[in-house]
């Protein structure tokens, strides 16, 4: 029987990272994935990642996928695609299927990195064509270049719901609204803000009552829910949409681990049923490891580190690295993983709604949590978002108000203007001594698109530089409207500069000129009239 030292099931961020780590140590590695393209969800993630440099922050998911794949193949990892693992049996034997035959393969070690599956919520009409998972939307538009619909209702305001809403707009769809049964937005405030400033309304404490239509969705009825999750009578309204996109969380894809007989535990903060694992990803079955979403729902950045830990563990268990080497390696990895798990969105915090202040003691924006954008009046308490001493010099305004593990702004500022410090969940602050040159690297690099450059002029105008990732790209001289944080037009604006250097990685930095009194309001640009 064909045998490998390390079989990795799932070519996503965790699986590829595990394969790379093990192959580097000298193991014979096979990666299997049922998809036509490796990379797992990375290839659907076209946004820039959070984290720090070692977490590949500010790089877009699909680019990370390509890099991982390149690295894996250069290390001699065998990657089999369109190949489905049907089961894990005794003695770490697997059956996999490709085309019209099956093959039995054995692994000395097996890493299960099967990822996650989407949770769903049932409502009247949810089986109608046009009701889809958020993942389906991503797959269709980001992998296959087809819009999942024209007018979309997004159900769920977690990071997936927010990011996919943004991606839907990038694909040219109209996101009619984002709703969530919870009274607070679940995902990062910065993700919500970049959607809100384009004019997408948030309806919190709202749920889908019904998908309407005979053969496919023609509209959606939504309604307000009370504290017992019951629909408030008379609150129903109908939205004209052709697609209802569901993004209500993920569950670990634990089927393979369960059929193999791994000991499992129900851990709600990690998305449900997960394998009981050692600190180093080892399941209850010798030689079987689990990393990434299958071991508990987290971000892709965490999955990559977990994958590496699993790879290192397998390498140690098969004598390719010494215990000492292993410990050095995993100590670094663990530290890096620890960083990602900090902050108010770390998985320990999942489900907590009682956080009202940042680590620094600033009061969180209520408006951000409930409407998706920060109210101007709340901004003053955040030092990096407040107006600076000399408004006539170009300077960054950083509307980053939640403790998220992320520091590319600090990393890319060659002048040292922006300081996050060693603890990467801290909110960035502006240096008193360094001087901003207006290079706009921070604007393009911020994964949350929360940084703007502002410069007021003596003539009563102001120039706002903002991140822009939509088509068509406005041209210098274009006129349109400046929109505020909630996507409402505030004043006329003219594009005075369009920066699209390669280093900005497809985040165009638009500089628009507005009357100075709107400098603290204008955060988005809409060419021409009111609508995109």
């Amino acid at each position: 029987m064909n045998r490998y030292e390390f079989i990795v099931i799932g070519a996503g961020p965790a699986g590829l990272s595990g394969a790379i780590e093990a192959a580097k140590a000298g193991m014979k590695v096979l990666v299997i994935d049922e998809n036509h393209r490796p990379g797992g969800q990375l290839f659907k993630q076209i946004h820039k990642f959070f984290g720090s440099r070692e977490h590949k922050a500010k790089i877009r998911g699909f680019m990370i996928g390509e890099k991982l794949l390149e690295e894996a193949t250069s290390l001699g990892v065998e990657v089999r695609l369109d190949t489905t693992v049907m089961g894990i049996y005794k003695n770490r034997e697997i059956i996999c299927t490709k085309d019209d035959k099956i093959e039995h393969i054995k692994g000395d070690h097996i890493l299960v990195a099967a990822g996650a599956s989407e949770n769903m919520i049932p409502f009247e009409g949810w089986t109608l064509p046009g009701v889809i998972g958020a993942g389906a939307a991503q797959t269709m538009m980001n992998l296959h270049g087809v819009r999942p619909g024209n007018k979309i209702l997004m159900v769920g305001s977690g990071n997936v719901g927010l990011v996919v809403s943004y991606q839907l707009m990038q694909a040219g769809c109209d996101v009619v609204a984002i709703i969530d049964a919870a009274p607070r937005i679940g995902g990062y405030g910065v993700h919500a803000s970049k959607v809100a400033r384009t004019g997408v309304p948030f309806h919190l404490s709202h749920t889908v009552v019904k998908a309407n239509g005979d053969d496919h969705v023609t509209s959606a009825t939504i309604g307000k829910v009370d504290s017992n999750w019951k629909i408030v009578e008379g609150s129903q309204k109908t939205l004209e949409v052709d697609t209802i996109c569901i993004a209500v969380g993920l569950s670990p894809m634990s089927q393979l681990l369960r059929t193999a007989g791994c000991l499992m535990a129900e851990v709600p903060q990690k998305g449900g049923l997960i394998p009981v694992c050692s600190d180093y990803t080892q399941t209850s079955l010798p030689g079987i490891y689990a990393a990434g979403d299958v071991a508990g729902i987290e971000e892709a950045s965490s999955a990559m580190i977990q994958g590496r830990i699993a790879g290192a563990q397998a390498a140690r268990n098969s004598g390719y690295i010494s215990d000492e080497e292993f410990l050095v390696r995993v100590t670094d990895l663990k530290k890096s993983l620890g960083q990602l798990r900090e902050g108010m969105f770390g998985h320990e915090m999942k489900g907590r709604t009682d956080i009202v202040k940042t680590e620094e003691g600033f009061t969180l924006s209520k408006s951000l949590l409930e409407k998706g954008y920060i109210d101007e009046s709340e901004l003053a308490s955040f030092p990096a978002a407040a107006a600076c001493e000399n408004e006539y010099e170009v300077h960054p305004i950083i509307e980053c108000t939640q403790n998220i593990p992320c520091n590319p702004c600090q990393d890319v500022c060659s002048k040292g203007c922006i300081i996050v410090g060693d603890k990467i969940t801290k909110l960035p602050i502006i240096s008193d001594t360094a001087t901003c040159t207006g290079c706009a690297m921070c604007v393009a690099s911020c994964p949350g698109q929360a940084i703007f450059l502002v410069k007021k002029s003596e003539d009563g105008s102001a120039i706002i530089s903002l991140p822009y990732e939509f088509l068509p790209i406005p041209q210098k001289g274009d006129k349109g409207m400046a929109l505020d944080r909630k996507g409402e037009s505030v004043c006329e604006a003219e594009v005075v500069l369009v920066q699209s250097a390669k280093a900005l990685d497809h985040t165009v930095v638009l500089s628009i000129m507005v009357p100075a009194k709107y400098a603290d309001k204008a955060r988005f640009f809409r060419a021409g009239g009111e609508k995109l």
Binding site: G87, Y89, K90, E93, I94, I95, I102, H104, T259, G261
Partner: protein, 374 residues
Amino acid sequence: MNNSADVIIIGGGVIGCSTAYNLAKQGVSCLVLEKYEIGHGGSSRNGGGVRQSARDVRELPLAMYGVKNLWPTLSEELGADVEYCQKGNLRLGKTEKHMEILRGLSGNSAKAGLDVWMVSGEEAREICPYMSDEVIGASYCPTDGHANPMMTTLAFFRRARQLGVRFITGESVLSIEKIRGKARRVITDQSVYEAETIVIATGYESRGIASSVGIDIPMKKVLLEALVTEEQPRMFDQMLGTAEADFYGHQSKHGSFVFGGSSGIEDYTIDTENSVTTPITAPCICRGIIKYFPILQNAKIVRTWAGWIDETADKVPVISRVSEVPGLVIAAGFTGHGFGISPIVGLLVSELAIGKETTLDLSEFTYDRFKAKM
């Protein structure tokens, strides 16, 4: 709650549930203890055959009684559809050797009074048009059939529960204790229960429990595997088997096919702790099926499962009072063909439990019949 009853049944499988239902019907208070969930073991892991043909002649009277008197009205009686379908059983042969086996089996059954006969390949294809030309003949018993074992078990459970039987799941029986010479107490990992009569109906696990009062039944565990297809257009209603037992199964009411079988080497490779599917069995069953039913080659397997057969030394069950331990009844060792006779066995065990004369003679099924070969 009161921890005593007239009868305690250990094992919430189809035998235990059927017995509980029959006791409740007769007004006997009854408590069922189940380690896992209702129908955990062989009751939910069998091919669903309600067969008389190819049975050991000792068992035949039970099978025939059930088919004649109990199965036809069971759904109605229990108020739930057990999906009983009485459209015959075909046992197929492809070689002269197979035909010899089939003639032997059906000859024995016919001698014992069962209406079963041999048919040619063509006749078999008239009954079931989807089988390949490789089939040269079959034994045919038109009164055989199949039912849904999971539904049957749960229907017995549901009705027994409605009649007041107390079911406790998730409790593991550790031992039985005798009080003043009689089996009386059941000790579980969580509690102690008492009854006048204790019935053990826990498949292979019956050995361990019975041994707490010094009784053993010569039995071994045999792994059974089965596969289930996606829903298919309705093709045929017969229960199917083969002379060499490469596979057996039927199309369920839902439309999916359920086929059991083995690779021939499980006995030597299985891990006796867990009933898990092996990587070699399902492919082997598939190959077997395709030879007989090429039309099914594109049917997709959605699920495979494994379970234990509690095989006794002489391959028929123990359905017996234990004379040396008064108050103890054993119903175990059904050797893979218990489901089809479960309605009658439930009735018989209920009769044993309350000391009534049994509807059928059970002298072939005594617990102490196993003797050394010389």
